[in-house]
Symmetry: C2
Subunit: 364 residues, 2 copies
Amino acid sequence: MKFNKNLESISTYEAGKPIELVVREFGIDAKDVVKLASNENPYGCSIKVQNAVGAILANMALYPDDSMIKLKNAISLRFGVESSNVIIGSGSDQVIEFLMHAKANSSSKILVNSVTFAMYEIYAKHVGAKIIKTASQKHDLDEFYKIYKEQKPEIIFLCTPNNPTGDAIDRDELFEFIEKIDSDTLVVVDGAYMEYAIAKDSSKEISAKELVNKFSNVIYLGTFSKAYGLGGMRVGYGIADEKIIKELYKLRPPFNITTLSLEAATIALSDEEFVQKSVTLNFEQMKRYEEFALEQKIDIINSYTNFVTLCLNNNQNSTEISNSLLQKGMIVRNLSGYGMNAIRVTVGTKDQNSRFFELLKQCL
Amino acid sequence: MKFNKNLESISTYEAGKPIELVVREFGIDAKDVVKLASNENPYGCSIKVQNAVGAILANMALYPDDSMIKLKNAISLRFGVESSNVIIGSGSDQVIEFLMHAKANSSSKILVNSVTFAMYEIYAKHVGAKIIKTASQKHDLDEFYKIYKEQKPEIIFLCTPNNPTGDAIDRDELFEFIEKIDSDTLVVVDGAYMEYAIAKDSSKEISAKELVNKFSNVIYLGTFSKAYGLGGMRVGYGIADEKIIKELYKLRPPFNITTLSLEAATIALSDEEFVQKSVTLNFEQMKRYEEFALEQKIDIINSYTNFVTLCLNNNQNSTEISNSLLQKGMIVRNLSGYGMNAIRVTVGTKDQNSRFFELLKQCL
C-alpha cells in the first residue's frame, strides 16, 4: 500500500527508556532504578490533585467536558488573559502540532535553534515543511534575525528556557526581537520550564499576558508536565491572540483531554504552594550539581530549569557514559543525537542526586 | 495572519452539551439532568478499573510508558493478533486522524456512508480531501462498490454497527465486499460498538484477527469508550497489517495516552464480566424502547449498539422535540444535522429510560 510521500522522511519517535524496560533488560530491581531522563517533577504531584482525582474515578465513564470551561477559566485567571486567548492540548506538544498544521505546509520554512526541543522538527516533517537551524548552540537572536530576513520562515520557535540545554533568553531581548518580525510570521515562545526560570532570575520572565497584549503573531506555550508534576496526564496550553486560537481550535480533535486530566490540571493550579516548594528544592539541589561539576572539572550549562546539561570533556564519551549509567540502573538523556558530547540529567531528590554523583564518578 | 487554505472550510467541532451547561442555562438541578446523548456506558466503569487507577494516583507525575507494552499485549491477547498489529490512539478518533494524514491529501477522495460518524469528514477536511457520500442511509455495499469503481477513493470507511443509526453490516457481505477492493485502497472497519453487536447477532461479528489475516489493506478500529465504560479516558485502537501500523506509528505523537488511561484500559480488558453485564442490561432495556416506539407509533431502527434512533413522524420535529427535552433536563442527540428527522438516545439505566419515556410523551 502506498502512503503519502512525506512519511518517507519521518522516522518513528523513540521515547526514553521507561523504568520497566531497564528492569527487564538488565535484571535490576525496580526499586534500584532511578530515572533522571524526562524532567519529571521528582516530588511527584500535589496531594490535593491526587485527592481530587481520586474522588471522581467513577467519572471515567463520562466523556470529558469538551468546553474545558473550568480549566480554561483557571488558566485565564492565572495568566490574566481572556478564556478566548487559551487553547488546551494533550501536552503543549499537541498545540505545536495544531499550529504546524494551521500555518505550515510543504512549501513552508520553520526556523529553530540548532539544539532545541525535538518535537518542532518532527511536527514540521509531518507537514513536509523545511527546518532551518541556527549555527549557535545558545539562542542568538541576532543570528535568528539574520536568517529570518534571508529566509522568511512561516514560523519561528524560541524555547526559553531551552530544552535540552537549560539556558534562557532575556525578556528584553526577546521582546525587541519580536518587534522586528512581520505580523504574518508566527513566533512561538515555548515556556515549558518558565516556572523554574522565574524563580531563579526575574530578567528571564516572559509574561504570556504581555506577549499577547503586545503582539498578534505570538503564541506562548506552557505545560503541566514539569513544575506542576503532571507529566503523566498530558495537559499543556497555548496563549495567543484570539484570532490565532480560533484557527487552532479548528484542528483540535474533540475530547483531546481526559476527564481525569482536566480535573488534575484545574486543581494543580489551585496549589501554587506545591509548585513553589518543588522549584525551591530544585535549585537547592542544583547547587550540588554545580559543585559536583566543578569538582569533576566538567562544564555545566547555567540552567533555568529542573535539569542540568553536563558537557563532557574530550576524553569522555556521552554515549558510553550514559550506557554505563543505564546498566547501573541510572537513566539519563544522552545528547549525542543533538550533536553534543553531553548528558542531560533531571535534578532529582536529594537521594537520587547523591546516587547519580556516586554512579557517574564510577564511569568517569 | 494568514493560515493554510484548507482551514477555511473547517468549522470548529461543537460537542454535545455537557450536564454543567444545561444546569447553568436552564437552572435545573444537576441531579435532575439526564444525559443520554453520548452513548456512554450508563453503568459506569468496572470497579476493578477504579481501584487500579486509584492505586497509582502518585504516578500522575511520571510520563506514560510510551511503549504501551502492557496495554498492547492485553489487546493482542484479546484479539489473537500480534502486538505489531496494534496502534493505540487517544480514542479511535486519533487513529482515524493518523490514517487520514498517512494515506490522504488534498487530491484524495474518501468514501463514506451518507449518514455516519462525523469525524471521518472532519479529519478528511483537515487534509483537504474530498468526501464522497452514498445516497443510501443504510450501508449498501453494492452502492459502495459502484462508487468505488467510478471514483477510486483512497479510503473507504465502513462503520458497523453504524453511528448514529445503529444498524450493522453482515459479516459475509463485508468480507465479500473487501475482497473486490484493490490492495492500494485502505478500508476502515470501525467497530466502536462491536461488543454490543456480537451479543445480539453473531452474523454481525467482524473479527479483527480474520480481517488482518485475510487483507493487507484493512484496519479495524475499536474503543474503550463504549462497552468498557471509559469514555472519559480517551483510549481507542487500530488493528491492521504491521506495514500499515508502522506507517501510522510515524504520525503518532509520543505519550498520546495518559498514565492513568493506560492503566484503566489494561485493567478494563481483564474484567470482561463487567462488559458482558453492561451489554446484557443494555439489550434488556432496549426492549422497552422498542415497545415504547410501537406504542407511540414511532419508527425505530433495529439497533446493534447501546443507543436507539427514533425516526419521528412528519408532524413531529426532531429539533423542537430535542429542545423541549433539553429544557426538561433530558439531553439527547438531535439528528437534523445528518439530514434526518430523528433523535438518537443512549439506552440508559432503567430509571433513566423511564424518565425519557415520560418526558418524550409530554413532547409528542
